[in-house]
Symmetry: C2
Subunit: 487 residues, 2 copies
């Protein structure tokens, strides 16, 4: 597919606009609203029959904090300094982090929450206190990530940062995106659905001048006088790109996203000199909760060794499960806390017994390995310690009465949900950078088309993708609207 066109070869454009936004998910909607608010004429192209993107399919949690706390955090009695928030993010991503982007996000996240409320997205002043991936009580604030788990709790004060649309549970994306799409419709932006942006138009000086889109089975040229904002999602639905960039995960995963997450924006950006980074990183999860009582269990690899504090977020567990030498990890649990993991239906009880020895004997684990691990865990937990992984006191207790069960979490059977985290290198302004980190004039990107705040599964938390996409979508829209006009 041709993804770069030469401006000088296009005698006349079919359409003209100030800002062209490609993709109407969370990032594209926010870019559109800000560009319109700045007075720019905006045309939006959406490949599918309607806006929403992967954001609309999600619970639409946003991972926000800092500035002393968002309005929601403060109303519910939580303080969260920018430094504390930043320390958490730094611990999450270490050398993978983009410091400029992270700082901008930590400093601006509280204002972003205000903006989202001003857009009419409802948030309920209710705090859900339990361990849960997505609260289903309708409350809007919860812990969503690794805040209370080691090593994060060493580096920053635990504060709940998951901001969920009110009364929505897993349907938060519908709540948020319905509101934003309605605002987009009212904004005067020219929204075209069933319209796939396929290529960028670049002039001989390197500046982006518009896009080529596939509309009604023909190529349509659209001039963007100020800028193009690429918001076309990630590439998990592009099987070839996934096989090339995340080969291992591609071989075991369930593709998680909307069907048009085919990497269009990334490929269009690289075709004009943009630099794609972090392309080998992806979210994956192995969900040991809900129900939260399963957190009392321990995970072992196929050597019978623990490899994680089990109170972490599901993506961190997923990462550390995936780097073990086999695709198989096991949960050991006692009778009182036994349950079926709601998000890991393919987990299978492979051994049950009245003693750990009996469970081990019926399991594929090496002789003596599980017994040693459980005995050590029990002895230490009785003292309130987990010297290996520092599981928090909330979830640390010796195993209770038998029977005991061993559940196999076989990654090949679980087929964990995966979506990609790599994308175009951008400045916090949304400007797309080349491999020398120089901006490509007239080109902006946000959402999973860009490499964002979350850079790997081990540091991921619910809300980081939607938080990043909407936050930097706004910035990209502002930047494009403020870019020098070509005319």
């Amino acid at each position: 597919m041709q993804r770069r066109y030469r401006f000088e070869d296009i005698p006349v454009f079919d359409h003209h606009t100030d800002v062209l936004v490609a993709g109407l998910g969370g990032a594209g909607a926010c870019a559109t609203l800000e560009a319109r608010a700045a007075g720019a004429e905006v045309m939006v192209l959406e490949w599918s029959a309607g806006g929403g993107g992967s954001t609309m399919m999600s619970a639409c949690e946003m991972y926000l904090g800092g500035s002393g706390g968002t309005a929601l955090q403060r109303d519910l009695g939580f303080e969260d300094s920018t430094e504390n928030f930043l320390n958490y993010l730094k611990t999450a991503f270490g050398p993978y982090a983009d410091p400029a982007r992270m700082t901008a996000y930590a400093e601006g996240a509280a204002e972003h929450f205000d903006w989202m409320e001003a857009q009419g997205v409802p948030y309920k002043r209710g705090f859900y206190p339990h361990r849960e991936v997505v609260a289903e009580t309708g409350d809007s604030l919860q812990y969503t990530g690794n805040e209370k788990a080691w090593p994060f709790n060493d580096a920053s004060e635990p504060v709940p940062r998951g901001h969920l649309p009110a009364d929505s549970g897993h349907s938060g994306g519908v709540t948020l995106m319905t509101q934003l799409l309605s605002n987009v419709a009212a904004s005067g932006a020219d929204v075209r659905c069933d319209a796939r942006a396929t290529g960028l138009i670049q002039d001989d000086s390197g500046r982006i001048r518009g896009v080529v889109a596939r509309i009604d089975n023909r190529n349509v040229t659209i001039e963007a006088r100020r800028g193009v904002v690429l918001c076309q999602g990630g590439f998990i639905m592009n099987e070839q790109m996934s096989a090339q960039h995340i080969p291992y995960l591609n071989s075991i995963c369930t593709r998680h996203g909307n069907p048009n997450d085919r990497g269009d924006g990334i490929l269009m950006g690289t075709a004009v000199g943009g630099h794609a980074i972090n392309m080998g990183e992806a979210f994956l999860c192995v969900a040991n909760y809900p129900p939260r009582q399963l957190t009392y269990g321990i995970f072992v690899n196929d050597k019978g060794q623990r490899f994680i504090n089990e109170d972490v977020y599901i993506a961190r567990l997923g990462h550390y499960a995936a780097v073990q030498q086999s695709n198989k990890v096991y949960m050991f649990i006692d009778n009182e806390n036994f349950a079926r993991p709601a998000y890991a239906q393919a987990a299978e009880v492979v051994a049950v017994g009245e003693t750990v020895e009996e469970v081990e004997r019926d399991s594929p684990l090496p002789e003596g390995s599980l017994v040693a691990t459980v005995n050590y865990y029990n002895a230490m937990a009785a003292k309130g310690e987990d010297p290996l992984f520092h599981k928090s006191a909330d979830w640390l207790q010796p195993f209770g009465q038998p029977p005991y069960a061993l559940m196999l979490f076989d990654l090949e059977a679980l087929k964990p949900p995966v979506f990609t985290l790599g994308g175009l290198d951008t400045l916090p302004s949304g400007e797309v950078l080349n491999s020398d980190r120089e901006p490509i004039p007239g080109l902006f990107a946000a959402g999973r088309t860009a490499a964002g705040i979350p850079r790997n599964a081990q540091g991921y938390a619910s809300g980081m993708s939607v938080g990043d996409a909407t936050f930097f979508g706004r910035r990209a829209g502002c930047s494009a609207a403020a870019a020098a006009d070509n005319h």
Copy 2:
């Protein structure tokens, strides 16, 4: 830096040739020789003052086998079927592998050895039987990788495949490249040193028409009538690219390669639509040998858990050390086998004792963890078993007499050698592919500018980079020479 130029904007070229080879390391020398052999006029540009590249700095081992055995393997009594070789490679790289490339290599490697001998590179009919990264006896055949280690020995019959230039030890690269460079000089190729290829010239149809090079402080244009072959190495010396693509390793590594491994070829290729893949993967090693007696020791992570069969190749050990939750791994060893690891001088003895308990008490390892691990290992080794990691019988024995030592291998202190494995997606022919896997007419790549046979550290073995670079360098040279002439 401008990396793409428009052909139509160049009124007259400074030079003309059939095939332009950028970079005169192992891949570039082989591309040149084959293109000349096919009758093409060849110009070679080398950024540094002389040819050699990272190949010349290496021991120049080539990882070869198949076809019943190379001449060297057969002369020394070893058989190696193509299927056996291919099974080994598949086990090494799993879903990361490029099947077409791997098959071509497995089928052609024996012929490649013949070609190298025909070029005048000396190989000695001597087999070095011991565990060693590079034999220093002058013998040319050795085991270099994971052949005899689990899980490789389950998937394929162990055969030595490391082919070293005769009587060279670690200086094999000088032996091999001196010969190839002499042949290049005699071939009639027009070699220009101190000449850095910086950009590709592409016409409006997408075809590559030549390069722009920096020579004597000015930009020189060179038309390549048939093709350009990019052989400019990897990008480990480009600190910004390394920080972006291999952030974790970049933060701890010693950059391993020649100073011009700055990613020029990859960036030139992507600037004209080439697709860079595998960019997050790199070789790193944690060297527990030589001396080989250290293989009797066991490695534990900072939880006191073993994580690898210690008889693997140093890059596999490096990978599994790096994915542990801290940068610190430890070797436990007895008095008889204690030694300083020759390639890991920063390894530090952190505890010594007459008993395992005493060693553990003086160490930072959690209470009871090392004792449990050593006791379990001893008990199993006494039965000739390693149920956890299947260390081979050659290296499996209970620990002997005290004193015992615990050596810390802190990755931050060791600063392990790292070089990059990502690069342009190419066909076995060397043709550079775009993101739809369509060839870019007139563009070829080989060596670490391309994503090659070795795709990650866990499956790497000595000889895979030089083997791949020279093998596919030849193919790229043939392909470029055979490409349709523009004139």
